[in-house]
């Protein structure tokens, strides 16, 4: 059964501006969850338990982006309490879909959406965790892939580098036997500039990649956009496609800006 309580590393999961989907990926590891709980003391994980163990923590998984002054303070405390800090998901690593606000006037939007916008206390931008504190590892995805999440935790436990490739989704398509939707169907796809990790889910269902895992290691978004244009995709659609879950991540950001109609 459980190893010595004092020997188990302490894991904390923190939520910032996010949908909780990445945290849920950890709960999704159903088959492995008991083994995880056996190997690690889950010291803070609001989605799973109310029990909170005091810091410091050996490993902090941080979900979500920084969108309030309070969170900008809180992440400093999380960092101070954490030996290793790993961001999980597109919000934490790239600002998330809520970073769309960075291109808009937040005050104006709030006045349209909320009856009493004066109750809101929010920053003008959504920013990734790495803009605020040092991050030891960034796990991509919207949401993260549970196998990769488990791999990061296991690698941390055994003090080895996690096996998380940074090459394109195309490699995963080919390993899986997906035909290229861009070449064979004429479907615009972000796969060539997007980091692998999802298992090429969308192309497996004959859809183009949405770029959930953000830019791959050496993305050539300029060349991909040129091809999309040749395929008849409008500037507006190119802009909107890059400007989604990872819109703030370079070079998706630059590429979307370039295609503003």
């Amino acid at each position: 059964m459980s190893s010595d309580e004092t020997q188990r590393p302490k894991l904390a999961v923190w939520k910032f501006a996010s949908c909780d989907g990445c945290q849920l990926s950890l709960l999704d590891c159903e088959d492995e969850l008991l083994a995880v709980a056996d190997a690690i003391e889950i010291a803070n994980f609001a989605e799973a338990t109310r029990r909170v163990v005091e810091g410091p923590y050996d490993l902090s998984l941080v979900e979500g982006s920084i969108t309030t002054a309070h969170d900008a303070e809180r992440i400093l405390e999380v960092r101070a309490q954490s030996k290793y800090l790993v961001t999980i998901g597109a919000c934490a690593t790239a600002g998330g879909i809520q970073a769309l606000r960075n291109w808009q006037d937040v005050k104006e939007m709030a006045s349209v959406v909320y009856a009493k916008p004066e109750y809101l206390d929010t920053l003008a931008t959504s920013t990734p965790i790495s803009d605020h504190v040092a991050v030891d590892f960034e796990l991509r995805g919207c949401p993260v892939n549970k196998h990769q999440l488990l791999e990061v935790v296991v690698a941390f436990l055994h003090r080895r580098k996690p096996v998380v490739p940074q090459h394109s989704v195309c490699v995963e398509c080919k390993l899986r036997g997906n035909p290229c939707v861009m070449v064979a169907h004429g479907t615009p796809c972000l796969g060539p500039v997007t980091q692998a990790g999802c298992g090429a889910i969308c192309p497996a269902y004959n859809r183009g990649c949405f770029g959930c895992f953000g830019p791959m290691e050496s993305p050539n978004a300029v060349a991909l956009s040129a091809q999309w244009k040749a395929m008849g995709v409008s500037n507006r659609d190119i802009m909107r496609t890059y400007r989604s879950f990872n819109g703030l991540a370079s070079p998706f950001r630059e590429e979307s800006d370039k295609h503003e109609p």
Partner: protein, 383 residues
Amino acid sequence: MTTDPPVLLPREQFGSLLEALARRGYRVVGPTVRDGTIVYDDLTKVEDLPIGWKDEQEGGHYRLKRREDEALFGYVVGPESWKKYLHPQRLRLVKAERDTSGHMTFTDGDEEEPVRYAFLGMKSCELNAMMIQDKVFLGSGTADSHYERRRKNIFSIGVSCGEAGGTCFCVSMGTGPEVTDQTPHDLAVTEVIEDTSHYFVLTAGSDEGREVLNELPATPAGPEHVSAAKQRVEHAASTMGRRMDTGGVRELLRENLEHPQWEDVAQRCLTCANCTMVCPTCFCTTVEDVTDLTGDNAERWRSWDSCFTLDFTWMHGGSARQSAKSRYRQWLTHKLSTWHDQFQSSGCVGCGRCITWCPVGIDLTQEVAAIREKDNHPAPTTS
């Protein structure tokens, strides 16, 4: 080697070939339509073949189109190659287990009993590609046991092309379109469709091929059938969508490592690795170790890798080939130049997959031509 007399098998009897192979315990795999492409998968009946389909191919473009006839092999090549059966995308090499005393036990991770595959519909370029991979995996003195186990069971049925695709250039590479004795095969097939007749001309390329032929309801092919088959192949040879001047290409690339064209192609290259994944001769792999939560069980996995990834040349301090330029140059010079140094042949069979399946349609025949046009170090060619 004496050439066997060709035999004729009517279209209505083609199923007998699949039956004969199945009787011999082969699992027949070959072309079939899936997701708008022709892929290789299990075939249980003739109707599984891409009957009446052709593949329209250009740089970065592939579409299945209906043919005007009901040809079984009226396509060129699809995105996949046969290497997936012989050199699997992912393969567990080793399993390791640690017992309570800390003792480690290592066992072979490649437990899969090799399947006896019959590859039905190998185009000549693909037979050449298999021959090249044979050299890579078996010819260097230290055979790759995983490849060897799978390869030795293969029954190969080559099919000569009756027409070429938009990105084909096997004639330039000397690898097709006719299945010949230059490439080992068990059976060679040419499909002929004339006004009222649809038949196949078959020849055996091995003893087992001969045995299979003898089990088929085939008759000796007449000179008119052989001539019609020959015409089909000649038609294919004369309709190549691409060509490459291979004269001295080995030296040409070697002498032009700083050619401005490398920078030009790097602007277009996505470094996505599609070209290497679809290439029937590319063989590079990466090896990853994984552990379970307890750390008592570990596995070592091998999976296809590409010289277009940064990890491929990762050493302490980073990747040796940071730029797209250096990665594309590595791929092309290896394929067409240093492959000769390493394996005594070209690494390209002219199948055109890397052109078709490049999402932005980069065309190695054009890149080579551009380098040749402004050859910075013209030297007397020897090859």
